[in-house]
């Protein structure tokens, strides 16, 4: 039925079927990087309903299987649907009971196919996903966009993060970052995003994945500074104008 609709909308010239969808509740940037022992990922916990801050405690970092960590920005209901797909994927993989388990590379590849497949049906999942993980000493960090564009890198960021966080990461990222340094770097990125991305909120989580597994931090806030003298009395700087 659904595929029939998609077909009709593509082939017939006189239809009023709404193919293009809009996001309703969205999450903003996810930032992630490789460090010495694995992957670190950060995201805030805001859920925007258009420009309204509708939810303030949304978890956007989730463990997938034994070796992967997924972060998502974009439509939150689509993200939850993706989580259901992944639950099924992991379940069916476990049913082989062969002692094998899907690694981050496999999960990322699966997500890539799901996203691309949905864009081919003109019914995209409105997300940008970040997938990180470690398996057999191999660190993996990749990204997939709404339309299926995907790649791996040493550090990635979605949405606004691509404009604000990646310049910092490109300057300061190193292969041998320790856990503490990695967290500090992520916090630096998240602080800039907090200052400059209007849909960011000061409540975030940082997740870590290593050979030992996933740890997701409790929500916490960053220290901010608003005390510049130019901010105290903004009109004094342009006295005589309006």
């Amino acid at each position: 039925m659904e595929s029939n609709q998609a077909k009709n909308s593509l082939l017939s010239s006189h239809d009023n079927i709404q193919r293009t969808q809009y996001p309703y509740v969205t999450g903003t940037s996810v930032v992630a990087l490789k460090y010495k022992d694995g992957i670190l990922m950060a995201s805030d916990m805001g859920g925007s309903y258009g420009s309204t801050l509708r939810y303030k405690s949304v978890e956007r970092l989730k463990p997938i299987g034994k070796h992967s960590l997924l972060g998502a920005s974009g439509e939150l209901s689509d993200f939850q649907e993706i989580l259901r797909y992944l639950d099924e994927l992991i379940l069916y993989d476990n049913m082989w009971d062969d002692g094998n388990s899907l690694g981050p590379k496999e999960v990322h590849n699966y997500l890539t196919r799901v996203m691309y497949n949905r864009r081919n049906k003109f019914d995209p999942l409105w997300n940008t996903l970040v997938l990180g993980g470690v398996k057999k000493g191999h660190k993996y960090l990749g990204m997939v966009s709404m339309i299926g564009v995907n790649f791996e890198d040493d550090h990635v960021a979605t949405g606004f993060g691509n404009h604000l966080a990646r310049p910092i990461l490109r300057d300061e990222w190193r292969e041998d970052l320790t856990f503490e340094e990695g967290v500090k770097l992520l916090e630096k990125c998240m602080r800039v995003l907090l200052y400059r991305d209007r849909s960011a909120v000061n409540k975030l989580q940082i997740a870590k994945i290593t050979e030992e597994g996933v740890t997701i931090s409790q929500p916490y806030s960053l220290k901010t500074f608003w005390g510049f003298s130019a901010f105290q009395n903004p009109t004094v700087g342009a006295e005589g104008s309006w």
Binding site: L10, T20, Q21, Y22, P23, Y24, T26, Y49, G50, S51, T52, T112, Y116, R119, N120, F122, P124, M143, S145, M146, I147, G148, V149, N150, F151, E152, D153, N162, H163, R166
Partner: protein
Amino acid sequence: MTKQAANWSPYDNNGGSCVAIAGIDYCVIAADTRMSTGYSILTREYSKICKLADKSLMASSGFQADVKALQKFLAARHLIYQHQHNKQMSCPAMAQLLSNTLYYKRFFPYYSFNVLGGLDTEGKGCVYTYDAVGSYERVGYGCQGSGSTLIMPFLDNQLKSPSPLLLPAQDAVTPLSEAEAVDLVKTCFASATERDIYTGDKLEIVVLNADGIRREYMELRKD
């Protein structure tokens, strides 16, 4: 609630340039490794060159997700071919397959701009260039992608090949030596990077000859 995005496009242009040059007994295929969207760089290290068979390589720019889907499809078809024929597909055969594959999606095209390079059954270098819907031609040299308008006139000037309309058909391969061709490709990219904002970061050059495959990298401007 205000609608966040007015519309949605199933396509994106991830930029990049590809060049291939055929010589008498070699083929040089090159592409930059920048992947971008809009004014942002997504990654500085994404290989646009894909090995399709022992003696055919494809360099593609355009929409990365389509390119990846195309590469996977060709890889699958090549696997089937190997099972059925117990040999590697020849470069001219792969060229026809690529054309058919692109045309199959004529009304929802792969937004992918390809050059296919390799050695033909006689071991001679061959290059095929395509448009996004499968029109193709065997040439002596070719280039595709965001910097192609800058590179092509330079290649024409340096390597002008005989008209394909001549009878009897003339050999399209370039007269350059392998080292000269590699040098030419490096110049092409260094120059294209100066003036095309989507080309840059790093150049990947793959040389195919009787000895096999050799890979080379050169840094490009990162701005």
